[in-house]
Amino acid sequence: MSGESRPMATPPAGPATTSTAMIATLGLVATLCGILIVSAYQGTLEAVSANKRIVLERAVFRVIPGAVRMKSFYASSAGIVPAEGPQPKEGVLFHAAYDQAGQLKGIAAEGAAAGYADVVRVLYAYDPARQAIVGFGVVAMRETPGIGDKILTDPAFLKNFEALDVSLTADMKTLANAVKTVKHGSKTQPWQIDAISGATVTSKAVGKGINDSAQRLLPLLVPNLGRLETAG
């Protein structure tokens, strides 16, 4: 292993190690290591959560241009509650973004679906006034470089998210039309996503991620939108 060749001679028989010594050593080392781990965890906890917050804020401000502040909420059947508290049952996390004047600029939420290599996690911006998705970003993906990762750079694909229709039915129970990824060049409706040719699997993951998330979030969110306008 190390390149040092060791003769296989039997070592001179020393006094046998007692069980107590073995247990004591392992116990001592484990205690010491436990203290080290817990202090490292406590010491970095604040920085790690601050980092997570910054990364999330940056991603939200990228999909909602003009936003400078954001607040996170849970939407559930019982209404909208700030995300600082405990997550309500069936609660869906979303982020409300506000501009300098405290005006609601848009809603950002995360969706996820299996892509080609791994789960593709996307962040989309919802514009309540237009009932449409108006921005798109990727939180995490491991798609093939140069193929699947074109969902972030392909201008024709990004054009899908200038006004992707996600309006609800009249009873606000579900989306009027499910968001669907269609074959490259066959988009005819505002709720369809035109896939990238050669990266269909990743494009479909984006569509499925957005659809699954919007189907859960929007029926809970839209009836309570009034609360958010003032929450800024």
Partner: protein
């Protein structure tokens, strides 16, 4: 001290990991992170630094308690120590940069089972005092980091046309995407091993005629 082996000077001890026993190019150890995370020079360096940190800290602790640990439980002890420092470095990376943390993914946690670290603890740190143990571990860590950098920089240059995220060849360059995919890791590693073996063979070929001539005379 192994019989028949002369005591290394501190410099030789340090250089061992960088050249003569380089973990990547000579011992070919720790190939899992070496192939998996070296898609860019930055990832390679981050992984190298994390592994060096664990190597040095665990070598120091193993060396300090080497007289206390009964040989029956030494592997268990070393693994607990290594796992501890891997957990610490895991938290530290998440605190320093989430981007790097996401890029390295599960390979930070997998440092626990990197054979270089347990190998050094068992073969070196447990038999030497803290100063030589740390010196040797630093050299090994640096050698490992250099190896990763050699892989990561070539793969990033060819596979993305960039180095440390800066574009090198302008927009007309068509990246060799295969280089940032898993097969590219094997191609680049193979090319580096070929180069180092060729250098070594040439060196021994130069030395051989002299030795042969001497052999005939006696």
């Amino acid at each position: 001290m192994i019989p028949g082996q002369h005591e290394l000077t501190p410099m030789e001890n340090f250089m061992e990991g960088i050249w003569k026993q380089n973990p990547i190019f000579v011992m070919v150890l720790g190939m899992c992170p070496a192939l998996a995370v070296t898609v860019s020079a930055r990832n390679a360096i981050a992984m190298g630094v994390a592994t060096t940190f664990v190597l040095v800290c665990s070598a120091l602790l193993v060396s300090l308690i080497r007289k206390l640990v009964p040989k029956e439980v030494r592997i268990a002890t070393y693994i607990v120590i290594i796992a501890t420092f891997v957990t610490v470095v895991d938290y530290l990376i998440a605190a320093i940069s989430l981007e790097v943390y996401e890029a390295l993914g599960a390979f930070i946690q997998l440092i626990v089972v990197n054979c270089i670290i347990l190998g050094r603890a068992e073969a070196h740190a447990s038999k030497h005092g803290p100063v030589p143990a740390v010196t040797n571990a630093l050299g090994m860590g640096l050698g490992f980091s250099l190896g990763l950098f050699a892989l990561g920089s070539v793969r990033e240059i060819l596979g993305a046309g960039k180095l440390f995220g800066f574009s090198l060849f302008g927009p007309d360059f068509q990246p060799w995407v295969v280089m940032v995919l898993p097969p590219g890791g094997f191609f680049v590693l193979g090319a580096w091993l070929l180069l180092f073996n060729w250098l070594r063979n040439r060196k021994s070929a130069e030395a051989a005629p002299a030795a042969g001539a001497k052999g005939q005379r006696t």
